[in-house]
């Protein structure tokens, strides 16, 4: 059981979502995050230049069985990449256990990826 955290461009969220469904990931959570990185633009407000180093991105969080990890990563990679600085990051880490709050079940069987 693994957790995949992917930080992607907001503009690519829809495509990534479709690709993840196609890769049999049926459930994931996401949130809007702010990041600091190398992708920045100069802006001017009332004659004062300033740089925006705060980058707004979407972070997708997936927990799935091991065999779904590679397809999910490929799905994200193929849809979220533009080649420009700022395409994002993917982190994969092990997960000890998972519980269904409603039934009390735990383990792999709780996960919503296709069996």
């Amino acid at each position: 059981m693994k957790k995949i955290e992917a930080i992607i461009r907001r503009t690519h969220f829809e495509e990534v979502k479709e690709a993840l469904f196609a890769a049999d990931i049926n459930w994931f959570s996401y949130s809007e995050v702010k990041a600091i990185g190398q992708d920045r633009q100069d802006r001017i407000y009332r004659g004062v230049m300033y740089s925006t180093d705060i980058i707004e991105r979407i972070e997708i969080k997936i927990v799935c069985r091991d065999q779904f990890v590679q397809p999910a990563i490929e799905a994200i990679m193929s849809t979220a990449r533009t080649g420009e600085i700022g395409d994002g990051r993917i982190f994969v880490s092990p997960v000890d256990d998972t519980y269904s709050i409603r039934t009390g079940e735990h383990g792999d069987s709780v996960l919503a990826d296709k069996k």
């Binding site: 802006r43 001017i44 407000y45 009332r46 004659g47 004062v48 230049m49 300033y50």
Partner: protein, 407 residues
């Protein structure tokens, strides 16, 4: 009045409609100021705009109208508490004069709130608003519009570049100096930090509303519409007013594009207002070509002024009220002396008229700045005019009002 003038229905309706348009400048100011500042202070700035109009309406009727329009001396009118019956009916009833002058008074007060935004104690702002409506504005207004010494010299300020805008702008400058900059506005090394406003859509809508309201502010100041002479006058003023707004905005667009590499919306908004403020003094006496030039000069001057006040003088004026109303109010009055078709410097009128315009506008600026500075300084010593740093950082909405604009 040397002869009896009968009240004209048409004139009255025109002035009443113009007063409504000038009233509608209040939401314009409110939106500009709210849009150009941060969302944590929106309720506060909206409340200040309401206070200016509410206090102004009451106090100008109570005391200001008498001080401004009572015969009195050349310096000050007379004290007529809760009474405006001394004022004669002219082509419009005295009630009509009262409401038209009230909305102007409130405009002068409301200019200041933008420059003092995001850091002023609300209670002290109310005190300030009262003093402007009962004292600072009516007295200098009397000089030009109430039969005072400036009007006797031949000082011409048709709708208030000096009387309303320069007065408000000079007080705004005094307030911004006494208050000091917002936390984080300048680094230790003295460089200016941009604090972007939270909603430029509000700001832009506010500017459109002000532009619209100015069509009452200037053409309404003719105070008459009946007869071909007045009809031509208000139509001409309408054209010069609109033209100066357009060229003022264009000037800011071109200048920011050249200087900063991109055309800046926030400064174009100010540029439009700069042109409007600039043309207000001379909108009836300059040609339409003259108004285009005045607007353009004021737009350029405003961009330079914003940069100098922010980057060199380090005076924090979040919405640019000092540049728009103070600098362009002064400039517009001076340019009236240069561009007036009758008596202007560029039309062979010599230096005399320009000299009177300079004398009038500079005196009013000094009056408003000195009294404003003194007032804020006293309030600062007695009670403090600035909120605590914690309140400033978390937002005036929560601590000063207990309610936030966005929930």
């Amino acid at each position: 009045m040397e002869e009896t003038v009968t009240i004209s229905g048409l004139d009255t309706v025109w002035v009443i409609i113009a007063a409504m348009l000038v009233f509608f400048m209040q939401p314009g100011f409110a939106l500009v100021e709210a849009g150009f500042t941060r969302s944590k202070n929106t309720a506060n700035i909206l409340m200040k705009n309401f206070v200016d109009f509410m206090a102004g309406s009451f106090l100008f009727w109570m005391i200001g109208f008498g001080l401004m329009h009572g015969s009195g001396s050349g310096f000050i009118g007379e004290l007529h508490l809760f009474d405006f019956s001394f004022y004669p009916d002219t082509n419009i009833p005295k009630e009509c004069t009262l409401i038209f002058q009230t909305v102007f008074c409130a405009t002068a007060a409301t200019i200041v709130s933008g420059a003092m935004a995001e850091r002023t104690k609300f209670s002290m702002y109310i005190v300030f608003s009262i003093i402007v409506s009962v004292f600072i504005y009516p007295i200098e207004g009397h000089w030009s519009w109430g039969g005072g010494w400036l009007s006797e010299l031949g000082f011409h300020d048709f709708a208030g570049s000096t009387v309303v805008h320069l007065c408000g702008g000079a007080i705004a400058l005094a307030g911004a100096i006494v208050l000091g900059p917002r936390i984080g506005k300048y680094t230790k090394h003295g460089t200016s930090v941009a604090i972007p406003g939270h909603n430029l859509a509000y700001g832009a809508l506010g500017v459109f509303i002000l532009w619209f309201g100015w069509f009452g502010f200037n053409p309404g100041s003719q105070l008459a519409a009946e007869g071909s002479e007045n009809a031509i006058a208000i139509s001409h003023v309408m054209c010069t007013t609109n033209m100066a707004a357009a060229t003022g905005g264009l000037a800011a667009l071109i200048l920011t594009w050249i200087v900063y590499g991109k055309p800046s919306l926030s400064l174009v908004c100010n540029g439009i207002l700069a042109g409007l403020v600039g043309i207000t003094a001379g909108c009836d006496v300059v040609s339409i070509a003259g108004s285009a030039i005045i607007g353009f000069i004021c737009g350029c001057a405003m961009v330079c002024s914003v940069t100098i006040i922010d980057n060199v003088l380090h005076i924090d004026d979040p919405v640019g009220a000092v540049s728009v109303h103070g600098v362009c109010g002064l400039l517009g009055t001076l340019l009236t002396g240069a561009f007036a078709l009758d008596g202007g410097l560029f039309y062979g009128g010599g230096w005399n008229f320009l000299g009177i315009e300079a004398l009038g506008s500079i005196t009013v600026a000094l009056w408003a700045f000195t009294l404003g500075y003194l007032l804020f300084w006293v309030l600062k010593k007695v009670h403090g005019i600035r909120v605590e740093s914690r309140i400033e950082e978390e937002g005036l909405d929560i601590y000063e009002h207990g309610e936030t604009a966005y929930n």
